[in-house]
């Protein structure tokens, strides 16, 4: 038994080294567009993100996270063609890199961000989210993110889980056009409150969560292929750490234990995933031709088929989003010990 666990730990060590090495290799594929990292002060909360053609979402995205108290944004632009790059280059609290390299071969952006996190994230609380993800945590309407990270620090907790919650509009996805700067939740206000399944990954120790509207609509007959919803976006970064696949899995493995196994609840948040807006159709088509997404973009193939026929994700038991307290009552997130 001892040998087995020793061997797995040792294997994990090399996997971690490998992830970090890959990240280092990707350094040369990125070009700095605007570097404001000298403005980063100790104790600042940093946000890491990679994007492609998300210009329309960026104003609200920056606004939302600035309001939560993020001090600096470190963003990687994957060859956008829609003006997002010049827009971000003007922002004083954004440091921007750009790359034309393959999203798939950088393991869906993980390598790029791992490199930046190693370079700038050490000792900071780092939030890693996509432009279509809005981070919600307990008391987020009255307490800034700093309150959360201070509390995590005092509890000696290094990582904080936030499940991806797919938001969708009532009616056709493309019925209401999204305007730049608008709160996407005004349109995509609905979510599935209670159809999630959980499994534990025995080698990385993280939970594997699936379900929600994508399972219900697109993966009825192939549940195993449904996308993973578990995420660990907030981490007190150390240069030894590395994300392994998206923000689903971290190494060292202890960081993935964001759940309690003895019956209690740890604190957790939610990432409101606003992918299903009017912009989705275009995006899905583009991604399908680029084939740069996970598992041969099987997800996007499934969407494209279904969206053509029946583009309404809403059902009778969909729940309209109100606030984090509602999510906590529904059991999608928890205050844990924080009061």
């Amino acid at each position: 038994m001892f040998y087995v666990s020793f061997l797995t730990s040792y294997g994990m060590r090399w996997r971690r080294k490998y992830a970090k090495m890959r990240a280092y290799g990707k350094k040369y594929s990125m070009r700095s567009v605007s570097d404001n990292t000298s403005a980063i002060r100790s104790g600042d909360i940093l946000l890491f993100s990679t994007f492609r053609n998300e210009n329309i979402r960026l104003p609200y995205f920056l606004d939302y996270y600035r309001r939560l108290g993020v001090s600096h944004f470190l963003m990687v632009d994957n060859d956008s063609e829609d003006g997002g790059r010049p827009y971000l280059a003007q922002q004083p609290d954004v440091s921007l890199w750009t790359t034309r390299a393959s999203y798939r071969r950088s393991r869906f952006g993980v390598d790029w961000l791992n490199f930046l996190q190693r370079q700038y994230g050490h000792g900071h609380w780092c939030l890693t989210v996509d432009p279509d993800e809005l981070f919600v945590y307990p008391f987020c309407d009255t307490r800034p993110i700093r309150a959360l990270t201070d509390w995590l620090d005092s509890s000696h907790v290094r990582s904080f889980g936030a499940m991806l919650l797919d938001m969708y509009p009532k009616g056709r996805i493309d019925a209401v056009p999204y305007r730049a700067g608008q709160d996407p939740i005004e349109i995509a206000a609905w979510f599935d409150p209670g159809n999630y399944v959980i499994d534990r990954n025995p080698s990385y120790w993280n939970l594997w969560i699936q379900g929600g509207p994508r399972s219900r609509m697109f993966f009825r007959d192939l549940p195993k292929k449904a996308p993973a919803l578990n995420k660990i976006p907030l981490v007190k970064w150390d240069k030894r750490y590395a994300y392994v696949s998206s923000t689903h899995t971290l190494l060292p493995r202890g960081l993935n234990l964001t759940y309690d196994q003895w019956g209690g609840e740890k604190a957790s948040g939610v990432l409101l995933h606003t992918k299903f807006l009017s912009t989705f159709g275009e995006k899905a088509e583009e991604e399908l031709t680029r084939k740069q997404h996970y598992a041969g973009s099987v997800e996007y193939k499934a969407y494209a088929e279904k969206i053509q026929k029946d583009p309404d994700l809403w059902c009778n038991w969909s729940e309209k989003y109100i606030n984090w307290r509602q999510l906590e009552i529904l059991g999608l997130m928890s205050k844990g010990n924080w009061a």
């Binding site: 759940y259 309690d260 038991w317």
Partner: protein, 566 residues
Amino acid sequence: MSVGIIMLVHTAFDRAEEVARHWAAAGCPVVFHVDKNVKDDAYYGFVKSMSDLPDTRFVKRHRCEWGTWGLVAATQAAAQTLLDDFPDVRHVYLTSGACLPLRPLQELFDYLDERPQTDFIESATTADVPWTIGGLDRERFLLRFPFSWRRQRMLFDIYVRFQRAVGYKRTIPNGVVPHMGSQWWCLTRQTLSAILEDPERKTYDRFFRKVWIPDESYFQTLSRLYSRQIESRSLTLSKFDYQGKPHMFYDDHLQLLRRSDCFVARKIWPFANRLYEAFLTDPDGAMKRTEPNPGKIDRIFAKAVDRRTRGRPGLYMQSRYPAEGRENGVTCAQYSIFEGFSDLFENFEPWLAKTTGARVHGHLFAPDRVEYSDGQTVMNGALSDSAKLRDYNKRAFLTSLIWNTRGERQCFQLGPMDEIEDIEWDIAKDPNAQISVITGAWAIGLFKSNRNFADIRKEAARLQQIESTHLNALRSEWAKARIRIWTMAEFIEAPMEPLQTIIDEIGRTRRKTLAEAPKMTDLKGFPQFLQSLKNQGMHPYLMGDFPIDPGKPDTQEPKPKPYLIK
């Protein structure tokens, strides 16, 4: 001024300064102790910023690590200075840099003036307090703790175990009785000076130096020796979580803190601007007095501890994924499972819904689709009716359904034709499940079907095999559900009595005799059907004994009693 303040500071100096000025403005002398771990720059900066106030002192810095002697040494030094330099002080109030006065200071002064001899210090014997972090209560005085619990946990644990193994026990000097309590106290000059000037102080100090968490026991124990009148409670509101770490107060606690009956609260998050603004401004202005209701504060923080340690039973989510056996309830509410009833009774589901008011589903685990009540295709929580999604994780399906519909009792049908193999043990082991089984009733469906007899015989053998295995689970020693099993023959002889028992147990409506019975299907020819199966070499035994010519049921025989497992 009759009240002097000791303030222990290690961080957030701007807030400490703000509060210190508040005390000073009311005329209280303030003595600071700054943790030695604080960098010199920050320390001298702080000293300088306070230099315009005449009645402040800084004492020799000690290293203050949680649970160690440093905190007591710091307090002793500060108390000595306070008593020596400010002879008017009658009460000494121990605070920290993260403390915030909740009520106008004049109220505190008046309160203490009315009780000039009273020491306010929470102090209880170890036998009487529930807070034991790390499983140590009395032992924290009887063992030695040279290692840090935070930094050297392994050594700490090993050394504790070693001392237990060899039976080591320290002797408590002069037979004092160890007391514990909140470290934030308010003592009178008499008591405090008696403790500090005690001729035996060296002995006590030596003893408490090696006690675990001496700051919660040194003054708490020794004040018992000298105080004329102890009021065993702290004037400082502070709440602790399940690890013994103090809860923080934030802006959104403002209304809650107004309801406190305490004079000071800790710890305040240094960036809680609204709290500092509200409580430190002019007393007549912002301070809206509210009727004290400390119970409300207690409840909120007790709930947080409960949530973190026990969680919500029956909930599986991203931060609560209990290992098997640690669920504290597999599901979150009671539900009923009926096996064979909808085969035997033609209108069982609508009848049950009408009688109990519960939500009655069909076969939730049917092979082709999930048969929700009223033919719905999506259920509470947006659960899909796809059999594949359900079978992907049946346990999650069931626990989600019960969680999503909490507040409404769920009933559903089950039978050997369903996909039960991965779920039957979960159900059998769940104390929330009420399972009622009429064994062999699945044969009615075959009896009424229009299939070739060879197929029927094969299917009957298969279903009987599945149900027999299923019954083994229900009858096993691990089964914790409320389980009742009848053979079909038993049941049809007197169906009303068992039905009444089940309905009473569901107990949604007030107990009354069933007015209306469900309609039993026509069983004419069923015994012959069973006989034909037997003639084909299959042995249908789960139905019980059906005489080939039933005639009238024999009323003389004693009624069969249902048996209840656990």
